[in-house]
Amino acid sequence: MKLAGVSIHKSIIEYRGFFYLKLAAGLVLLSVAAYWVHQPLAGPNGGTWLGYTLGTIGALLIVWLAWFGIRKRRYGVGRLLLEDWLSGHIYLGVALLIIATLHSGFQFGWNVHTLAYVLMVGVIVSGAFGLLVYLRVPALRTENRQNMSLDDMMALIAGLSKEIYQAASTLDDEVGQLVQEADQRTRIGGGFWRQLSGTDPHCATTRALNKVRARAEQFSGADADAARQLVTLLARKVELLARARRDVRHHALLKVWLYFHVPMTVGLIAALLIHIFVVFLYW
């Protein structure tokens, strides 16, 4: 999503004086009232006139909500602004959860109809997670970055290496080995979970710091001074690494929900089409 900055995220919620919140709330209230009043024989279900009505509204909402994925890639198309689409996407997405539940009449089972419902719930829940992330994480990320980009942090980390080698040059081979590994094997991020965790339990620099700190007591004289300096430098590098990894975590959090939101939307559309097809095939 190409929206950045805290102010935009807030404005999506309050957009146009909560116009889309009011629209969604109106739709939900109307549906709940109709469900309350309508007392079909054999209990509420998707096959009554209200069931078909709510189902049609739900299906149209799904199509419109999914269309956002295409609309957001096209700039300046249509009458509505992208902000309209996003604000509506959020509120009408939540409304869909209630409308589709009423459509089901709370009848669930091991079938393609409930599959469509479960996928829809998955899409909405992942979207809600995405919204929470977009409301919370950018501020944390800004605070963590301290006006640095990830590239800046990496340059700072790499820049420490020369000083570290310098400090370690007079120390023994074991320290030399640790320092070299810390320089050549340290990494930021990694796999899916590593990026999301924001930590690295196998970090070569952390390992070097811990070992050098433990060995520092054995040194004396000039070596002890060098070791002390080395520990300071390594600690500084570890701190910078933690900051960089937090940044990667923030970045991953801002994107990870889409790995569920998008594929489940595609699955939902498939299940929805089958649901509609089958309802009339086996009328």
Binding site: R187, Q195, V262, P263, I274, F277
Partner: protein
């Protein structure tokens, strides 16, 4: 020894710059340490890598403790070297050169594997974007699309329309059950089910094709009546023009796939939608409005026999003060039979206390009662005997002619055979049996006696003393008739009442028989008596009772609905032509 050391630096354009240094030492030591003759700076170099010294056999490389070098491509701790030898120490390569005059040894030192730049290394190892982890949204999306389409669309369609042989419509339920056992444990289209099938239809749950015959066509009634062929209409299609009842699809009321509950509607609102104001739906209807058993139900109107002689019956309400009176032509005072001290039973010493069940026995189904009859319920006390010297001899019940014939035969037999011990009998009749045969005159005399006795006994039998105690006997000249008896076996044929389910209550809670002095009393409870325990569908302090607890929708006396299906099928065929 004198050593010439050339430090080589390779420039970007490939040109090599060298800086020479001449050393004098015992042996040439190499390493990161500042006390090494050749100081190899930078990461990846040990403090002490090794020494090159001159031995009697020639030059020799000796690595420092616990380390090894690559000498001419081979990993070794030590070994002889000569001119042209390459010794690899960490990122450095030492080449032994041909020493110039006056020098004992010449080596070149070059950093051949400079360490990767720290930033480059960090960037190369770091993966900081989820998109670069090999997990792809697009792949997930395609996978979910393909799996869902395959499992929930392609396979069910293939299984339903591609693989199964079309079977002829099953002729019977057992046939249907057999054809529904498919070779697969679960049919492919079972994932299309819109909900759990009702309990009584579960035996065909795995075979959607039984009901869903044609694609995109609602389930038709011909499917239902294949098995439910005797289901009847709610109203007569001829009397009432109510197509919403007589032409409605079965499934408009019987909703399938709504869970394990019964498929029969039980909501009283369903009934009340018409029966709340029945005249507005069917002006010709004579039934009364009802919407809720507890709050809005008319008084019971049993079919009462108003005159058994003319077979006249009427539906009369059980209104207090205007309680209907039945004229069954049978006198039967319940009160006399239910006296607490008991009744006299012929042949028994003690009086017997009667209970309701002595005469009213539940039928096999437990719903109603077997009809009472003289033979099974009355005759053990009420003996139809006519001759006190032979109290066991009784006349058959039910026909005056047969009764009189029985009496006549009894006395005629006595008269002709002799040996009668009846006081007023002539000597001829009292003679010892087996004596000389009677003359024709004697026979006439004996039979004349028998005639007289028959008349006497008949008069007594058909008096108030015996038959007249219960029956109305009418004299037409010489002929006697007994008024025809008609007893109700079912007061309210449109309402089901299961007596066995009410067995915990004494009979007298509803039927006040011990106080009834005449059979004209209609001993039914009023609706108010039922309402003491039963309320409407939504009752919370009474037994919640819906309409169909007592009333059927499909009425036994109406036309079978199958006819409607046959008719509509025929008219559809007509239309299609």
């Amino acid at each position: 020894m004198e050593v010439l050391v050339s430090y080589l630096t390779r420039k970007r354009d490939g040109a090599v710059a060298s800086r020479n240094e001449v050393l004098t030492c015992e042996a040439l030591s190499l390493g990161r340490s500042t006390d090494s003759e050749v100081e190899l700076s930078g990461p990846g170099v040990l403090l002490h890598e090794g020494v090159i010294d001159r031995r009697p056999g020639g030059l020799f490389f000796q690595a420092a403790t616990r380390t090894s070098a690559i000498i001419d491509g081979k990993v070794a701790r030590n070994g002889p070297i000569g001119i042209g030898s390459h010794v690899k120490l960490g990122p450095y390569e030492i080449v032994v050169l041909n020493p110039p005059d006056g020098k004992d040894l010449a080596v070149s030192v070059e950093l051949v594997q400079p360490m990767e730049d720290s930033l480059e290394s960090l960037r190369r190892l770091s993966v900081t974007d989820l998109d670069r982890t090999g997990i792809s949204k697009r792949a997930f999306a395609w996978a979910s699309l393909i799996v869902i389409l395959a499992l929930f669309l392609a396979w069910p369609i293939f299984d339903r329309y591609g693989m199964r042989e079309e079977t002829a419509a099953p002729a019977s339920v057992s046939n249907l059950a057999k054809t529904s056992q498919l070779s697969w444990p679960m049919s492919g289209d079972i994932v299309w089910t819109s909900g759990e099938i009702s309990g009584s239809h579960k035996f065909i749950a795995n075979n959607c094709a039984v009901c869903h015959e044609r694609p995109f066509v609602k389930v038709q009634d011909n499917v239902c009546v294949t098995c439910h062929e005797s289901v009847r209409h709610h109203v007569s299609p001829e009397r009432f023009d109510l197509p919403q009842l007589t032409m409605a699809l079965c499934q408009s009321c019987h909703k399938e796939h709504a869970g394990p509950t019964h498929i029969v509607l039980s909501e009283q609102t369903f009934c009340g939608s018409c029966h709340g104001n029945i005249k507005s739906i069917a002006a010709a209807s004579e039934i009364l409005n009802a919407t809720d058993f507890g709050k809005d139900h008319p008084q019971f109107r049993p079919i009462v026999i108003t005159d058994a002689s003319t077979f006249a019956m009427d539906r009369l309400p059980l209104e207090p003060g205007k309680w209907p009176v039945e004229k069954s032509n049978l006198a039967f005072p319940h009160k006399k039979h239910l006296v607490a001290s008991g009744v006299i039973v012929p042949g028994e010493k003690d009086r017997r206390v009667l209970e309701c069940v002595d005469c009213h026995r539940l039928d096999a189904g437990g719903v109603g009662f077997r009809p009472t009859s003289m033979m099974t319920d009355c005759s053990s006390c009420h003996w139809l005997n006519f001759e006190y010297t032979a109290p066991q001899r009784v006349v058959p019940h039910g026909s005056i002619e047969n009764a009189m014939l029985t009496i006549k035969e009894f006395y005629s037999d006595l008269a002709l055979r002799g040996g009668a011990e009846i006081e007023d009998a002539p000597a001829l009749v009292r003679r010892r049996p087996g004596t000389a045969p009677l003359t024709p005159e004697q026979r006439l005399e004996a039979l004349a006696w028998a005639e007289r006795k028959t008349k006497q006994a008949g008069d007594r039998l058909f008096s108030k003393q015996v038959c007249g105690a219960c029956h109305e006997i009418q004299q037409h000249g010489d002929a006697l008739t007994i008024a025809p008896v008609l007893l109700s076996t079912l007061w309210m044929p449109k309402a089901k009442f299961n007596h066995s389910k009410h067995a915990t209550a004494p009979c007298t809670d509803c039927h006040n028989a011990p106080a009834s002095e005449t059979s004209a009393d209609v001993l039914l409870p009023s609706v108010q008596v039922c309402q003491v325990c039963h309320g409407g569908e939504a009752a919370s302090t009474r037994v919640p009772s819906t309409c169909i607890m007592c009333h059927d929708f499909h009425l036994e006396f109406q036309e079978v609905m199958r006819e409607k299906v046959v008719r509509s099928g025929a008219s559809a065929r007509e239309r299609s032509r």
